[in-house]
Amino acid sequence: MLVYKSLAHPELVGTYVQPFTLDERLAHSQQAIKELGTTMPWLVDQMDNRLKHALGDRPNSEYVIDPLGKIVRKRAWSNPGEVRKDLEELVGKVKKTTLPEDLKLNVVPPLAQSAPKGDLAPIPRAGLFPIVIKPQLDKDGDLFYAKLRCEADPPLIDEGKGKLYLGFHLDPLHRAHWNKLQKPLRFELTAPEGVKLSATTGESPKSSSENDSAPREFLLDVNSWPADKTIQLTVAYDACTEDLCHSVKQTYVLSRQRDQDGGRAKSAGFRVLTLEQMTQRLLAGDKNGDGKLIKEELNSIQQSRFLDYDFNKDGVLEKDEIQTMAEQLTASAESKE
């Protein structure tokens, strides 16, 4: 059973962003089920991530519960091979082991944005961390077609002086895009007395494309922001769906506090490995040091790709097969950057 929770890596695949409402999180879980083509049962955590918090706050942890509701196994990272061993110990061996390829999963690609990315250059966000924001939700109000992603550097989070990133990212669930004939996105910040901001208002540049989906981003300098005071942000924008442009005005409250459920956006936390590093990472599992890899010597993600690289189907990845796997994994990671 899978438990769906907040995104660990927003914007990484399919440009997904953190949902603001339970309906959006449920839509995410339904999309995840489609993408994986799975028929496994799923649970969806509440928007405050209470089950994740109650169980150690890890993005990919795994628990086995016995029939009395007692925890009998736990691990920080899911490991299908280890779970199989757990179940053999707890329940018994199966006559025929089901392999991933036996499931013939009907996987589908992630949701795409409804317009090309356009030509606005992204703001680099290395070293920034998400901070807590509260969107002011109104059940009769407009959808949050664009969602604020707010990040800060450690000096701002710790001492109230530093960089503040504001990014308005279109949510692919709502199929909206920017149109250059509409007014650019505008924001306004209202801060407590004494807080110094390098700008209290801003207007996004326009893309040269007629329609685009690039986030509208701003980087501000902030000084003297007390930890116990919030900043209010109001944003106005036109989000265009297939047949209509929606003029939207929405408000957020920003807190100078790290959002532990915010996840790390791709440019902030990911490092692409070189080919040599990727090869070393694969060979790190080579327990007997023979320079070859059997499936059990790989991690769960690598195991799911094992058959793609075992070209001679002998159940072992030899040097040339490991090299090909490393090349393709490196190329795949680079394409996501």
Binding site: L26, G56, R58, I71, V91
Partner: protein, 61 residues
């Protein structure tokens, strides 16, 4: 081996060991909370009793 890879492996091992020691530990009751199924129907985690259940956390990205 690349130093960064060794460091990452050591960190992961330490993280796993810390996690296993944290509450709730093996032998503790699974927390009784309300969550949802993907259609939005409430589900109590206590309803998982009666058989062995594997629960894995995940998300789209």
């Amino acid at each position: 081996m690349v130093p960064g890879v060794v460091f990452a492996q050591q960190k992961k091992k330490a993280s796993e060991e810390d996690f296993v020691k944290e509450k709730p530990a093996v032998g503790d009751p699974f927390p009784d909370l309300v969550v949802y199924d993907p259609k939005g129907q409430e589900v109590k985690t206590s309803s998982l009793r009666g058989h062995y259940t594997v629960l894995t956390f995940g998300c789209l990205t």
